[in-house]
């Protein structure tokens, strides 16, 4: 009994510590990349106290932010629901933490016995992944409700509606991969992609794009960051949070980003596969994290470029564009796998999907096009 407990600890603790420190690194990465996109330099002032190091490129900035969050006063509104107000940030943190251990991340030192918790044992890892991430919606609602603030409740309801309506395209696009790999076991999916990553098949690419867009909405990132829309009245569900609870929400959001992009890597980008993995098996963990950070770079890049969608456009986009497209993708993938003749099914599949996407986007705002202007002398 103690051996299994030790195994569990040997897996869980490094994951928790590793990804929490990666969270700190990602906040720095995000501020630096956003700065470079906007012709600035980003944080570069913090230096280690009592040392001569002056130019540390701001790497100590996350530690400084964390310290600041700890020092900030933790204000709880007078008639807030004390218990739920405390529970919400914790509940927003637990599911992503739990889900991280489902990812097929071969820790370099993990022996066969210790990999019980990795995806190998759980044969429906993907389903459990979606089940646990749906708890996030609860945490958002609890935060919105417990703050007893009209705006945070409306912001919370908006965020819940957004997460619920983007969960369906997320699951459907994952279903395509499950169908192709023949099982929900993350390890089996990675094995199935040994010959060819799923992203390189037309229906795989479409599923990846839908999955990526839906995961953006699921974690309230870039074009879908409605809750923190400071330009509107509703300042989002974590208005009444300050101090370390606020930092917990951010930790939860970033871990959710790691989890969702980790799943995207497993489903579409061949998990830990990469060059020289055969020679050094420990390298697969590095490749896995590298791919996750590639996806995170794209997320930050989107955040630096795109304006925000309005609520009704956001919902319309989910229900009228992503959902039908992912359903169609399911059929196309089924047909392609059944026919199993790539030279025929690929071009046809690509054509059908592209045609459907154009038709759908044309049917909505056909007139939304850049205009030409007349001039008067």
């Amino acid at each position: 009994m103690t051996q299994t407990l030790l195994n569990l600890l040997a897996i869980a603790v490094p994951l928790a510590v590793g990804f929490a420190s990666l969270f700190a690194f990602t906040t720095w990465l995000e501020r630096k990349i956003l700065a470079r996109i906007q012709n600035r330099i980003g944080p570069n002032r913090i230096s280690l106290p009592f040392t001569r190091f002056r130019r540390l490129f701001g790497l100590i900035q996350p530690a400084a932010d964390g310290l600041k969050m700890l020092a900030k006063e933790d204000i709880v509104p007078r008639d807030a629901d004390k218990l739920l107000h405390l529970l919400a940030p914790i509940l927003s943190l637990v599911p992503p933490m739990m889900v991280l251990c489902l990812l097929p991340l071969e820790l370099p030192y993990a022996t066969a016995g210790m990999r019980a918790l990795q995806a190998a044992a759980l044969d429906n890892a993907v389903l459990l992944f979606f089940a646990i991430t749906s708890l996030n919606t609860l945490a958002v609602f609890m935060a919105g409700w417990a703050s007893r603030n009209k705006y945070s409740l409306l912001g919370g309801m908006r965020a819940v509606a957004q997460m619920v309506s983007y969960e369906i395209p997320l699951v459907l696009s994952a279903a395509v991969v499950i169908m192709a790999a023949g099982g929900m076991n993350a390890q089996a999916i990675v094995e199935a992609q040994r010959a060819q990553w799923f992203i390189f098949t037309p229906w795989g690419l479409a599923a990846f794009l839908i999955f990526f867009i839906a995961s953006l909405a699921e974690t309230n990132r870039s074009p879908f960051d409605l809750p923190e829309a400071e330009s509107e009245i509703i300042a989002g569900y974590f208005t009444e949070y300050s101090g370390f609870k606020f930092a917990l929400f951010f930790l939860g959001e970033y871990l959710a980003i790691f989890a969702v992009s980790g799943l995207a890597v497993t489903l579409f980008l061949g998990g830990g596969a990469g060059p020289w993995v055969a020679a050094y098996p420990a390298l697969s963990c590095v490749w896995f994290l590298a791919k996750i950070f590639a996806l995170i770079f794209v997320m930050i890049w989107l955040r630096g470029t795109l304006p925000r969608l309005r609520v009704d456009q956001l919902m319309g986009f989910a229900w009228k564009f992503l959902l039908p497209l992912s359903l169609l993708n399911l059929f196309v993938a089924a047909a392609a796998l059944k026919l199993a003749k790539p030279w025929l099914s690929w071009p046809v599949g690509a054509l059908v999907l592209y045609g459907a996407a154009v038709a759908l986007s044309r049917s909505h705002r056909a007139d939304a096009a850049p205009r030409t202007y007349s001039y008067a002398e």
Binding site: R40, E230, E232, P307, R310, V311, Q313, R365, S374, A376
Partner: protein
């Protein structure tokens, strides 16, 4: 706590109407709201997400500019015109100088006329880049367009600092010309900035004009018809976006604008997208004027033979200029002394603001913020 308040707090519930009906939500987007371009408040009544009624409330930045001017000499209120629309101090100065020169005719030398046109068009570039940056910021593009716009604005503000000594509060125009000539090498630097500007405009148009999210968020939002605009006295890019061809540089031909070949872009739908695009296209026209002006600016004095003490005869006049926000006019009544009897400013952004409610009703609160951004108000000018 009075009993009424206790029961009210006790039976506090969000939803006042029975069952599915949600009550009207009174929201005041307060004076220090992040997206209201300064101290400006909108009392909005919401039915769910859509705006039912909207009452703009301003006056937080009222500094009694016009009454002050009655107690000071004509020249003394020139630095205060910088503070009207603090993005375009040069055009404010020019409007006041133009009005005063009609009171007491002073012949403005050629070089001063050219420099006035150059400064005015540079201010138009500054104003339109900042406006487009703020507009995109309201849409939610997290600072990137704004920082690109401010990168260009910095270059022009450096030019203003070298010419007049201050970046924003230039106080550079005088009755009959300019306070001092531009330092040598300034025209070359101005030429460099003007040549580099189209690169920025192309980058901006590539970044935003075909962006589907921008199209979806701004097209058919806050539509203002031409007749409605003329009725409300709207002037400037907002009026031209609704398709009405009215540009003071072409109508009044003040200064030496008739020597420059430039065109006036006109919108068709009069919605937020048109207002956004008109300003981008106007910047390209201003670049044409700047090219021509910088090419054939003569040498010579910059100050006409202004009298030692500016004491116009008893008369009244109204001088106006096409400022980046619209028709900025100064109505002066002189009573023969050195102080104006009456000093009135026609603020374009204040008058453009009057149609805000008609534009916003029926749209969602997120659109109301975008529409306010497209109207381009600066509170210094709205409140005076």
């Amino acid at each position: 706590m009075s009993a009424a308040a206790a029961t009210a707090a006790a039976s506090y519930s969000l939803v006042r109407q029975p069952a599915m009906e949600t009550g009207l939500l009174e929201v005041s987007m307060g004076p220090h709201h992040p997206s209201t371009h300064g101290v400006f408040r909108m009392d909005v009544r919401l039915d769910g997400e859509t705006v039912v009624a909207l009452k703009p409330v301003f006056g937080y930045l009222h500094r009694n500019h016009e009454k002050l001017a009655e107690g000071m000499s004509y020249l003394a209120s020139m630095p205060f015109t910088d503070r009207l629309d603090y993005f375009n101090s040069m055009t404010n100065n020019w409007a006041y100088a133009l009005a005063a020169e009609q009171l007491l005719p002073i012949e403005v030398p050629e070089r001063a006329q050219y420099l006035r046109v150059i400064m005015a068009e540079l201010t138009r570039l500054v104003n339109h880049t900042s406006l487009v940056g703020f507009f995109l910021n309201d849409l939610g593009a997290l600072g990137t367009p704004l920082l690109y716009a401010f990168r260009e604005r910095e270059r022009i503000l450096d030019l203003f600092e070298q010419a007049s000594g201050a970046r924003m509060m230039c106080n550079y125009f005088r009755f009959g010309g300019l306070r001092c000539d531009v330092p040598e090498g300034w025209l070359a630097r101005a030429r460099a900035v003007v040549d580099a500007f189209p690169r920025f405009l192309d980058e901006f148009e590539k970044l935003l004009c075909e962006n589907e999210i921008v199209l979806a968020r701004t097209q058919r939002v806050g539509v203002l018809s031409g007749a409605q605009a003329v009725n409300a006295g709207i002037t400037g890019p907002m009026l031209r976006a609704s398709g009405v061809n009215y540009d003071l540089r072409k109508v009044d031909r003040y200064g030496i604008y008739e020597r420059f070949a430039f065109r006036v872009p006109l919108g068709s739908a009069g919605d937020c997208y048109d207002r956004f695009m008109i300003r981008l296209l106007e910047m390209r026209e201003s670049l044409k004027i700047l090219d021509a002006a910088l090419r054939d600016i003569p040498t010579g004095p910059v100050m006409g033979n202004a009298p030692r003490v500016f004491k116009p005869a008893a008369s009244e006049t109204y001088g106006r200029v096409e400022s980046p926000k619209g028709e900025l006019g100064f109505y002066l009544i002189a009573d023969g002394t050195t102080k104006p009897y009456r000093y009135r400013v026609r603020p374009p952004s204040f008058i453009n603001l009057t149609v805000l409610e008609d534009l916003c009703v029926g749209h969602t609160i997120a659109d109301a913020v975008v529409i306010l951004g497209s109207v381009d108000i600066v509170l210094g000018e709205v409140d005076r």
